[in-house]
């Protein structure tokens, strides 16, 4: 059941079973690949880790509507416009699935939205980069959604049931996002010299931020070990990043475009690609709020929330009026 309105607070059993044995049983269930459901006992640290991760993920989907939404009115054809609208609508839907999953852990939607709008909650740093050209829409679909899929597929097997189920739904839809992006890049890469230059320029700007999406290197990742123990996370940041590079290099080659990394090379011995150092200083700056579009993105979300307030209130007032009218007819 997807609701915290049901009694999730009934966590403390009447008979004082000690916390250690509850935790032991919880870990055994996780080890046995059983899913943990909202009303099951879980350690507070597990609950808080999930709330943080799922809500950050939800915020990322919602903020992620903005960079591409920027191009809806200027898409070059009606078909591309329809595709882009469908994709942006999907991102909104993904945000909705994920907020619902987070709410099963006992946090309200209002709290989550408030955390985003006041700047306390984080969202994926990638969405703080601008989309100055149409090719950015292609590069985002291909690289950003590609990296997201790489991160998200293992989450379909995450130990927390509602999150895993939301991710199954999301992954099913995400593949369309990546393919429409690659298709757009392919069309530009096969177009005029100017179009190809535009595609290359977008690739140059999105490549490194896409690699940063996998998070800090394993050695510096603060949340990883608990998450792996609890089977929330199945692969390390560096493993997934490497896999993404290995998948993407041949795709770029097929486009006839060059990845902006002079150190990128195939290693015969390891059968993997080696790539240059990532500028973690840039990543940290963007995360701290100093990226090119942080201020703009949050301002857009706040405006949408504030300007929509009267609609939400009016809908509630209308629903209440209908309910009363029905009640008085019945009386």
């Amino acid at each position: 059941m997807y609701t915290q309105a049901l009694d999730v607070q009934g966590l403390e059993p009447a008979a004082p079973i000690d916390a250690a044995s509850l935790e032991q049983r919880f870990l055994e269930r996780v080890d046995a690949e059983e899913k943990i459901e909202p009303k099951d006992w879980m350690p507070n640290r597990y609950r808080n880790t999930l709330i943080r991760q799922i809500s950050q993920h939800a915020h990322s989907e919602i903020v992620g509507m903005l960079p591409e939404g920027n191009w809806i009115t200027r898409a070059p054809t009606l078909l591309r416009k329809s595709i882009l609208i469908a994709k942006v609508q999907d991102e909104g839907g993904h945000g909705a699935y994920l907020y619902s999953a987070a709410e099963t852990l006992g946090v309200s939607r209002d709290q989550l939205v408030e955390q985003l709008l006041c700047g306390k909650a984080k969202y994926s740093s990638i969405f703080n980069y601008p989309t100055p050209t149409w090719a950015d829409v292609g590069a985002i679909g291909w690289l950003v959604d590609g990296a997201a899929i790489m991160n998200q597929i293992p989450l379909c097997r995450c130990s927390y049931g509602p999150y895993a189920r939301a991710m199954v739904r999301i992954c099913r839809e995400e593949s369309f996002h990546q393919r429409q992006g690659y298709d757009l890049m392919l069309q530009l890469a096969r177009g005029t010299a100017e179009q190809k230059r535009m595609a290359q320029d977008a690739l140059n700007r999105w490549w490194w931020p896409a690699l940063m999406m996998f998070g800090p290197p394993d050695a510096e990742s603060t949340h990883s070990s608990d998450s792996q123990r609890w089977k929330i996370k199945r692969f390390s940041n560096d493993e997934l990043r490497q896999k993404f590079v290995d998948f993407t290099v041949p795709q770029a080659r097929f486009l006839g475009l060059t990845l902006p990394d002079p150190l990128l090379r195939w290693n015969e011995a390891t059968e993997r690609h080696e790539f240059g150092p990532i500028d973690w200083n840039e990543f940290n700056q963007v995360l701290k709020g100093n990226g090119p579009c942080n201020v703009e993105r949050l301002a857009a979300r706040r405006a949408a929330h504030e300007e929509g307030a009267w609609v939400r209130e009016a809908a509630m007032a209308h629903a209440e009026k209908q309910r009363r009218r029905k009640a008085s007819i019945a009386a």
Binding site: K39, A86, Q89, Y97, A319
Partner: protein, 100 residues
């Protein structure tokens, strides 16, 4: 009905059930917030059936659902475990007997 006034500004939570095709049961798809049931149906259409996932939608206020407690799982479901005679495979029927 949900007389409890929660947060005035927060739309109540609804659970969504979708029938994927005619002939199948409605199945829990997820949840969403809406001001009332008609809006919940409209939102469910947009959130859960963008790719023809359904032909029919049910919505119900989450607070109107009563659920069993996981702590009671043993007393509720355990008694069924040792009643193997409830299953047809418990009975060995001689090969000569057909269509049984």
């Amino acid at each position: 009905m949900g007389e409890r006034v929660e947060d005035k500004h927060q739309w109540p939570l609804y659970e969504v059930f979708i029938r994927a095709r005619g002939g199948l049961d409605h199945k829990h798809a997820g949840s969403l917030h809406a001001a009332d049931a008609p809006m919940a149906i409209e939102h469910a259409r947009d959130v859960y059936t963008r790719r023809q996932e359904g032909v029919s939608i049910w919505v119900v206020r989450s607070t109107d659902i009563t659920a069993s407690d996981p702590a009671d799982a043993d007393s509720l479901f355990e008694p069924a475990r040792d009643k193997v005679y409830r299953h047809p495979t418990f009975y060995e029927i001689p090969d000569e007997v057909k269509t049984l």
